[in-house]
């Protein structure tokens, strides 16, 4: 019952969020700020994660290929495919759900308990739309960019781990990167990241917006936002994969 009432409340919240904005100029201004806060500021963590994931996939693949009759350039191919299909979209989004999701839920939750949201409502501002819409649009716009960035950095991590560890030459790795390219896979993953951006920001904003009580509940809302948006990402990943790749 709680599950269904939460889904209902979430739908009502989204209906309020996607109401016509008060001022498009203000929405655009807030959107630009959110691009920096949610997008640009997430680049360092994406670089770190992607670099290490790319390196680890290379080492694991090379280890599994020892003494087998498969060409080494397949290491580059597998790194590319792993990054494009799953790691740069889903895993990076899961990490961002933790970073961005907790940030949004605690920011909006703090505004709720300090009556800043009431102040917005009293002024006649649609507080849900004012607070959540710029974040949702910014994440949906910037997540695909982070994805491309992540694939690129992951491949660099793979090349570095392969060449520095003596597992594969740079030439062979690049040969693998160019092997059997499916641009469709990139489109599929980019579509996923747009959905994941929506999930992360809207769920976090929903839990932050509905905080009641004190600071303790802000923490609880933040945890709920991260857990539920992570689960929602995994479910959406399955649905989109089934719909697009099948």
């Amino acid at each position: 019952m709680t599950f269904f009432s939460e889904i209902g409340n979430y739908s009502v919240f989204l209906a309020k969020v996607f109401n016509k904005p008060e001022r498009k100029r203000i929405l655009f201004k807030e959107f630009k700020e959110e691009l920096i806060k949610l997008g640009i500021n997430s680049i360092p963590i994406v670089i770190i994660i992607s670099l290490f994931i790319g390196a680890v996939i290379t080492i694991q693949t090379a280890y599994n290929m020892k003494a087998r009759l498969v060409p080494l350039y397949l290491i580059g191919y597998l790194v590319r495919e792993s990054m494009i299909l799953e790691f740069s979209s889903t895993i990076v989004s899961l990490i961002l759900a933790g970073k961005i999701g907790s940030n949004i839920a605690s920011e909006i939750g703090s505004m709720r308990i300090s009556e800043q949201i009431d102040a917005l409502e009293i002024m006649g501002v649609n507080s849900a739309s004012y607070l959540a819409l710029p974040k949702i649009i910014a994440a949906m716009v910037f997540n695909p960019i982070l994805y491309v960035f992540s694939v690129f950095i992951g491949v660099i991590g793979g090349i570095m781990a392969g060449s520095l560890g003596g597992l594969i030459s740079v030439t062979s790795f690049i040969e693998g990167l160019q092997f059997h390219v499916h641009l469709y896979y990139i489109a599929y993953s980019m579509i996923k990241t747009v959905f994941f951006g929506f999930i992360i920001t809207s769920i976090a904003a929903f839990y932050g917006y509905n905080v009641s009580g004190g600071a303790l509940n802000v923490g609880k809302a933040s945890t709920k936002a991260v857990v539920n948006s992570s689960v929602a990402i995994l479910i959406m990943n399955l649905i989109l994969t089934q719909l697009i790749l099948n």
């Binding site: 102040a119 002024m123 006649g124 501002v125």
Partner: protein, 248 residues
Amino acid sequence: MINVVGANKSFGSNHVLKDVSIDFEKGKTNLIIGKSGSGKTVLLKSIVALYPLDSGSVFYGDTDITNLDSKKLKNLRKDIGMLFQGGALFDSKTVLENIMFPMDMFSQMSNKEKLKRAQFCLDRVNLVGADNLYPSEISGGMNKRVAIARAIALNPSFLFCDEPNSGLDPTTALLIDNLISEITKEYQITTIINTHDMNSVINIGDNVTFIDKGEVAWRGDKYNIFDSKNQHLQDFISPAMLIRSINR
């Protein structure tokens, strides 16, 4: 002028407002007093339609806001200024941006005009030189003054103040009280103030309503409050009487 008629509000089994009827006059400071938990804040938030009433009406002039659709309510709210207990300034905006915010959202003024109006509001609350500070960088009293400046930025007809003096020293509290009273009279605003500060009652209580356990227990003004025969009110104001007796 605001009229509350037969207002009832419950949260679960807790009946917070019980058939409350009050008239609030224009150009006067209308104070709602009562102990913590007596229902003052719920009443104030019901008057501004942040909490929907279970039954009863709230009239702003001739308009009953309990029956308004969201669009009309939104338009009415542009004529309302509210000072919250904690100030409720936006943390991510500077003092100047906070004051300009309602104008950014709803006025057709040019940037220059908005800036001029914001500066005027800051001058009006005696706060000069704090334009570029953030709410976390100013004191509690300054915070309240910025909140008043924001509340009057769009020249509201109605001003609501929830515990404007909470957490302030007596001198600053007096300053805030006087500021609210001056603004009310100067711009002929209908002002409603929630407070449990007896200094405010004695200082600016043009109309005073005592709420006890969600009911209107007494109505009067600062001149006759100490002569009231209401026992609950006497219990409430007795600490102030104590100070008066020491003064004598």
